[in-house]
């Protein structure tokens, strides 16, 4: 049988050593009454050749970003992913290890986590970053809870531009701890600072702002920081780290906690998961942070080495008083990001941002010039923007999908006021030809 080590002979011998007559004998503690009396009703085993055929066929029914031109965003993006990343993370020593409980036999993983923490701290402008949270959504949720716990306040104010997909995750996580969510409205696509000022008060643990926000617009983080801090609240910023080669580090603008979806840092799209939850904070909060932390120390001989540290925050030690319930995280995605950021490096990340911004602005111009189509907002944007279409975006998207253009994300499902809205993302990978072809196809579709 596949993937099973023992032969029948092995089994016999082992049973002999155990002193059991049969495999059944080992299961005596399981009452007969609860034993499954039939085989599981699952499809029969498939041989490798057949299974490959089956899965290829299944995969082929999906319209993926290799077989269509992808303008989809909304949190995850078709960014350039150097092929080298996958070659390196696939090395069994990384891929098939687990949480580095035995640091002496896990220095590879621990060093990469330490590198990752350093890079994320640098990009976000924060003092410390953890070893990863599941995704941008749960990372934001953890930040909200941490803000509540740090401030002893039970209300979170979310700017309207926070991703509705993430907002729902925050709501789920805030249910138990009874942390209340309030929304601060937007004006022309960005946080209405007056509304924010009105919403943030003495009960507010944190003001949460995402920039660029879900609709692609850039927020005034410095102003948001002022509002939050004036009320004794924290500023939590959700940012896409890929952008932070060009955009200012939120930490420099007053953020106390920075979270974000790190998928763009070399993590495959993979239909939305696994992703990479980025989490960074100011030094003063380090002992309240969720998640794993790797730290440098020395060994018996005084040599540098790395360990998991400050574990008294974690569930396996603090149990119900832990800062979070997270255990398995997304270490391998963090490794992808570490390798990505090493490859892109000081210059490359800037280049990615510049290219994405240039192409997005070109696309906005081309698409916005299609008769009947307009840009929804006047606020500055970066690599993503919202269009208003003269026909139902769902229809347009379906039509363009047939032409192998993934045109964008219809916004109706996320915001009823944007029933005519289409969210368009343009990464550095898109070419002028692709954008032009999209504009022409869109023109035909809305005509």
């Amino acid at each position: 049988m596949r993937y099973i080590g023992n032969t029948r002979d092995n089994q016999r011998e082992m049973l002999g050593v155990i002193g059991a007559g049969s495999l059944e004998d080992l299961l005596v503690r399981i009452p007969a009454k609860v034993r499954l009396a039939r085989p599981l009703a699952l499809p029969p085993a498939m041989a490798e050749t057949d299974l490959v055929r089956h899965l290829r066929a299944l995969a082929a029914t999906n319209t993926d970003a290799d077989h269509a031109v992808c303008f989809l965003g909304g949190g995850v993006y078709d960014h350039y992913t150097p092929v080298t990343i996958d070659h390196l993370i696939s090395r069994g020593e990384f891929f098939t290890a687990y949480t580095p409980y035995q640091p002496e036999a896990s220095q590879g993983t621990l060093r990469t986590i330490y590198e990752y923490q350093t890079m994320i701290a640098e990009l976000t402008g924060m003092d410390v970053a953890n070893a990863s949270i599941y995704d941008g959504g749960s990372s934001l949720a953890e930040a909200a809870l941490m803000a509540a716990s740090v401030t002893g306040r039970a209300e979170i104010v979310l700017a309207a531009g926070v991703s509705p997909l993430h907002r729902r995750v925050v709501a789920t996580y805030c249910e138990g701890p009874a942390v209340r969510l309030r929304d601060a409205a937007a004006r022309d696509g960005v946080l209405d600072l007056d509304a924010a000022r009105a919403a943030v008060g003495a009960k507010t643990a944190a003001l949460v702002v995402q920039s660029p926000n879900f609709y692609g617009c850039l927020e005034d983080l410095a102003a948001a920081a002022e509002i939050a801090h004036a009320a004794g609240a924290l500023l939590v910023v959700a940012a896409d780290p890929v952008n932070l080669g060009v955009l200012q580090a939120p930490g420099r603008l007053g953020a106390d906690i920075v979270v974000g979806e790190g998928q763009g840092l070399g993590v495959p799209l993979s239909y939305g998961g696994p992703n990479l939850g980025v989490f960074a904070a100011k030094q003063e909060f380090v002992r309240r942070m969720p998640g794993r932390l790797a730290g440098a120390t020395v060994d018996l001989d005084g040599q540098r080495g790395f360990v998991l540290t400050l574990q008294t925050r974690e569930q396996h030690i603090r149990r119900e008083k832990a800062t979070s319930n997270i255990c398995t995280n997304v270490a391998l995605c963090a490794l992808m990001a570490t390798i990505y950021l090493s490859l892109l490096g000081k210059q490359g990340l800037v280049r990615v941002g510049e290219l994405a911004s240039a192409k997005a602005h070109y696309a906005a111009e081309r698409l916005g010039a299609v008769p009947g189509v307009s840009l929804a907002f006047g606020a500055p944007f970066f690599k993503e923007f919202t269009l208003r279409l003269p026909k139902a975006p769902e229809r347009i998207v379906a039509r363009l999908a047939k032409q192998k253009i993934l045109a964008g994300v219809p916004l109706k499902a996320f915001d009823r006021r944007l029933a005519d809205g289409l969210l368009v993302a343009v990464t550095e990978k898109r070419t002028k030809d692709e954008i032009d072809a999209y504009a022409e196809a869109l023109a035909r579709a809305v005509a």
């Binding site: 099973i4 080992l26 979806e261 992703n275 120390t297 060994d299 149990r319 319930n325 255990c327």
Partner: protein
């Protein structure tokens, strides 16, 4: 058995101006990509990231990897984690562009293969666990637990009940109380019997009307099957208490018995344990959660449904506890688990558990003379030993773990479960062969001998790894969590 030495961080290699990326020049007529963006929103200096060539990166991470033990290179008997072989076929399948390059907001009509796979996987997991519905959304076991407890909470609330406590045995994994607390419950810790079993009388005493749920691990964290499980679940149900099964140990019972049939209302799966998705140095995993039909309305949204010939994401779930992650689940892991289940089939899965159990019992039998066994067997898929005998000789569970590293094995889980003194929790998994188990048992017996005759060699260990024992205290006292250049 010595490991290579390599002591660099990526920040310590490279040279100013060196690059490892390859990007085209801009082909669009936009002169200043920063135009239109307020100055104060822009970064002034490029971030202090490495400046290394692609080759620097390849050699650096190749060498770093060599400082790790992994399942591919070493026996990794880490209890409770099911460090089984991760089939390479899963990897090839998960990398098919139709899966790996699919955007989550692709119109469902253009993602039927992915939705279909998810739909079928949820069905299969339901059948395996005897559960009526399964959500694939949770990103790991702990998030599955959170989802499960939140569903229980929503259920009670929908029934107009205000229950505030959840009972959790003291043998439980740390995520159980942590998830329960996160879901807004007060955690009541129950004392387990010495073998990890539930103390039924004590349970009964605790089943007050304010108890919402009882959460246990089956088989328990000592590796034993909770024999009186039906009494337990019946008793709970009689008091209106929901019963949650931590499914981390599911590898013990595939095709043999099913959580649903044991009376559990909820149970999570760890696809990165039972279903061969790789552990990746600490994740990603996937923690689907299965429920009985009375909890189905509360499942995280959206749910993948089949409508005629088409698959869709059903968002209209008014009673849903909401979302746990931004998208639909750790799809990449789902492809791997699906591939695995289709590879094994029903008979194969049952053999998985039978052999997992056999291997654990074999280790227990071979080591019973030299180590104290935490609970008399037969055990299920893992066995827990106590090094209390060795402790008296000055050799702790930790020492034994370190010595094992020198002998070419990763270490068992140590000091878990908390109720066992000097615990060594050994989970061999079914993918390991008798030869490997024998080599491991020989090493363990050698260590027992050394503890009596030459403990110095144990206290010195490890000496073959790239670093020797590390100063944990210093790491926690003076946290050094990011690299900084010597200025």
């Amino acid at each position: 058995m010595a490991m290579p030495r390599y002591d660099k961080l990526v920040f310590e290699i490279g040279a100013p101006g060196r690059v490892g990326y390859s990007l085209p020049a801009s082909d669009v007529p936009v002169e200043d990509p920063r135009a239109g963006i307020p100055d104060s929103y822009l970064r002034r200096e490029a971030p202090a990231l490495p400046e290394v060539s692609e080759f620097d990166v390849v050699r650096h991470y190749s060498r770093l990897s060599q400082l790790n033990y992994g399942v591919d290179t070493h026996f990794y008997p880490l209890g409770s984690c099911t460090m089984k072989y991760n089939p390479k076929l899963n990897e090839t399948m998960a990398r098919l562009p139709g899966f790996a390059r699919l955007h989550p907001l692709t119109p469902p009509a253009s993602a039927q293969g992915a939705l279909g796979l998810m739909h079928d996987l949820a069905q299969m997991l339901g059948e395996i666990a005897g559960m009526d519905a399964v959500s694939l959304q949770p990103a790991a076991g702990a998030q599955g637990e959170l989802a499960g407890v939140l569903m229980i909470r929503a259920f009670h609330r929908a029934n107009g009940e205000k229950r505030t406590k959840v009972l959790v045995p003291d043998s439980a994994h740390g995520t159980n109380p942590a998830s329960t607390a996160l879901a807004g419950y007060q955690v009541v810790q129950l004392k387990s019997l010495a073998n990890g079993d539930v103390d039924l009388a004590d349970l009964e005493a605790h089943l007050a009307p304010d108890v919402a749920a009882f959460m246990i691990t089956q088989p328990n964290t000592l590796g034993l099957f909770e024999q009186r499980i039906l009494e337990i679940t019946d008793l709970c149900h009689a008091r209106g208490v929901q019963v949650y099964m931590d499914g981390a140990n599911l590898n013990a019972i595939l095709g043999i018995t099913r959580p649903g049939d044991l009376g559990f209302d909820v149970c999570h799966f760890n696809l990165h344990k039972t279903f061969t998705t790789p552990h990746g140095g600490g994740g990603p995993g996937a923690g689907p959660v299965g429920v009985k039909s009375h909890l189905e309305p509360f499942l995280p949204a959206p749910v993948v449904v089949r409508r005629g010939e088409a698959y869709a994401l059903d968002w209209k779930r008014p009673k849903s506890i909401g979302k746990l992650q931004a998208f639909w689940g750790n799809f990449g892991m789902l492809v791997r688990a699906y591939t695995y289940i289709r590879t094994m089939g029903p008979d194969g899965l049952r053999e998985v558990s039978e052999n997992a159990v056999l291997n654990a019992n074999y280790i227990m039998a071979r080591l019973a003379k030299d180590y104290d066994v935490a609970a008399p067997g037969p055990c299920m898929h893992e066995c827990v030993l106590s090094a209390r005998k060795q402790k008296k000789l000055g050799v702790t569970a930790m020492d034994i773990a370190k010595r094992l590293l020198d002998l070419g094995f990763y270490a068992p889980s140590t000091y878990f479960p908390l109720i066992v003194e000097e615990a060594l929790m050994i989970e061999p998994t079914e993918t390991e062969s008798k030869e490997t188990l024998d080599a491991f048992c020989d090493a363990m017996i050698q260590i027992a001998r050394e503890a009596e005759q030459s403990p110095a060699v144990i206290h010195e260990a490890p000496v073959t790894t790239s670093v020797r024992r590390l100063d944990q205290t210093r790491a926690a006292r003076e946290p050094d969590l990011r690299w900084a250049p010597r200025r």
